[in-house]
Symmetry: D2
């Protein structure tokens, strides 16, 4: 097993007990994690192989896992409503997000979608993200820093209506309550043929947004919702999960065209 | 407008008329596209700006768009059942797929999932994809080449049961009818803590797979289905689409742990 | 086997070949049914037991079944959009529909919902159904007569806005495009505590209706959509159906209260 | 307002505060209801009109409503898993349930489905319901008595495998964990052409049941699931409910044919 697979002091690790009981922690030499299942001494974690277990003082075994981007997102600070993984995935698949893309986002909120996108455009792409509310700007910054993704993001605490100094973006993301008010601003940031993405919880928002998108000469406008239902697979008694999230948000995708009059 | 935004001879372009009528073509100097809405002369396309229009001989205006990865996937050769965008997205969000990841896949099928993943692991990651059936191997190779993604993929026409020479993969993908028969092989390819992903249409497959995954000490096993429903947003008459796909496949995710006895 | 289980001349019978190939016909002595699978002589059907088969001239065996109310509804004349069985069921379960209930309905449309309700309120209940468009009024009348349900229905070809001469109805059903315009009329028809039901395809209609219901002092207002997905159960390969209907209509239920000022 | 619309002593009434806060109580002269919103004196309720309000000692106004069958079902004793309204509705719509039908059911469980069906077959139909577990038999009996529906039900505390003395039933309902073991018994109870209905939570149960139904010459076999999602309609911010039930049970419907060998 290569040393790359061993926990080093300072690593973010996921300690996994069950689907619902899992801790995302930084393994610092000499420090400890206190849980209701006992205490974990990080000295026992550092040097251990990922995929192995560590015992708590109550003899509970926790699996030491390398956190995935989803673990990081789910365990981030989130004072705002955040975009769910099912919706993040659809944004990745339908917007053309990927390495090297330039993305402009408003607003950053808690930075969860920002982080997801930053992780996918690395190392040559970049996210330009705007958040007017200072308290969320700080949360987003902290979250991105904790996930080591801040270097791929230009995060600004400004009012969008004053205009953005971003041009030739491949993707523009609107994650705020009145996206129709920012379609023109985003149009200015996007490359011709670029993709606009919007996340809206209500049907009325989608309706107003789509009207504005048509007015601003966007084409290939598509709105959708993504539903995720777990399957509880157990020998001889497999069935869908009894509980599911009923609704998060509608996603809208549209492509910018060039207006001969507006350039 | 920068020249990067102008069509060059040899570019793959998307000519867009409506949501249902769109053509993915290579713009070759001197060649033409024949459609039921008239003929497009590629000489009119080359040099045009992306986001602008070209007229057919029947005066129909088509939008010239830069194809997204989704356009490429949807227009690829597909003699096999392929993974739908809604499921591709969930795979991206739940598996930790992203730049730099090493992925092993069996089987390649038409190469649609392969291409989606190759696009996301660029430029430093790599997909090792295996396909035993020679006819699909060729399709996958052609599709990847057409999308300029073959350089990120090691595509092999071999029998998986003979073992794979891949190790330390971050993600292992099983997209075949009897995934339980390949869990051990994939276990050998994966780094400790690595993620296994499987795509199965029936609940019986999921049930057998999950049994095997538990036996092979995978943890954090999660199965799900993703449903996508379009929203038809029109002023004063917004409603979900009347038509939707009822089912494609269940996705299963699980993480490899280290068995002290098996190493 | 009692004679009640034998087909008599004049009976409506369902001839069943497969889930998709089924005929609802009246078995008339001396007449024949022509199908692409051969000809059925009704003389072979009359006197046969329900649940048995009859052979066509091409030796195809068709099952002779007593039609259920659903068969009758699905095979009725339907020049208009009709209410789907999944929605009919929810109306039955959520509105309190049942034997003895007095129901007022606007508009009758093709009479499919009318017939479903008439079948459930028998023998002592009654449906008062209104349809302003003469062409649909005739269709509804024909459909109800064919199903032997017209005797439980008072069907009128009038303009609702002129007021209805129905009072003390237990349930009021609005199945038309602008239900908010008829809430007051329906309020007048309903018993205090009675249930209003509305069927609307768009969210905008539901929004306007609910506003009006609140204004008119209805309580316990509940809107919902019902999704039905088939399960293809086959040994070792059970999965949801690939095709499903994405959307039909939203159902809204609400209860009338007494306004001390309006009585 | 007719006296039929006034509460009489002994009536079951629904006292409604909000969608989540509602009480189903019998209004008995001289008695009181204690709630966290104050005390209701039934003397204030008796003689009041349905649809009007009564005040608690804390000046909270509760609406006095006539309970619908759904209110009765939702507020019944339920020590067992019960059938949800969305599924009850589909059973009504897809099985042909209605006035005059003879129905055989196994097992009765808490009697919720029994009561729903009894209400719909009144006054000339009948439910024959069997429950082997004495404790549930008693619950079902109490629930049916409370809803004034016991007179339409023959409820027996017997072992089904000993055979049932019911013949010529129009509908047979299997609501137990191993329905495949009772298909033959139910076949014997059903009229030729009669409808079998089964409620099963897992896919494996449906698979085994359908195998058995095919073996026993049932046709038109159809399995489905019903999903209900609420719509939160509010001016300018209408969206689906964030919470929904992910899964309850699969419904299976099938029709009995006559086996020339078995009669």
């Amino acid at each position: 097993m290569s040393s790359a697979n061993q926990v080093r002091s300072g690593d973010l690790v996921l300690l996994y007990l069950t689907a619902r009981k899992r801790w995302l922690v930084r393994a610092i030499e000499g420090e400890k994690l206190h849980t209701h299942r006992g205490i974990v001494d990080f000295n026992d974690v550092i040097g251990a192989n990922y995929g192995s277990t560590v015992s708590t003082t109550l003899s509970e075994k926790l699996w030491i896992m390398m956190p995935s981007i989803r673990d990081l997102l789910m365990k981030s600070e989130r004072p705002t409503q955040v975009v769910y993984p099912k919706d993040l995935g659809a944004i990745a698949a339908f917007s053309g997000l990927g390495p090297g893309k330039r993305v402009v986002e408003a607003g950053a909120g808690s930075g969860v979608l920002t982080a997801f996108m930053a992780n996918l455009v690395r190392p040559n792409g970049r996210i330009y993200s705007f958040e007017i509310r200072p308290e969320f700007f700080s949360v987003a910054e902290r979250n991105l820093k904790k996930m080591d993704l801040l270097e791929y993001v230009t995060l600004k605490n400004v009012d969008l209506q004053e205009g953005l100094d971003v041009t030739e973006a491949d993707i523009a993301v609107l994650d705020l309550g009145d996206p129709w008010n920012y379609v023109q601003v985003m149009r200015g940031c996007l490359v011709a043929g670029g993709m606009l993405v919007s996340i809206c919880p209500t049907m009325n928002q989608v309706e107003k947004l789509v009207e504005k998108l048509e007015e601003e000469l966007f084409i290939d406008i598509e709105s959708m919702e993504i539903m995720l239902r777990g399957l509880a697979a157990r020998t001889g008694m497999t069935r869908p999960n009894m509980r599911m999230v009923g609704h998060t948000a509608y996603l809208t995708f549209a492509r910018k065209t060039i207006d001969p009059n507006k350039g």
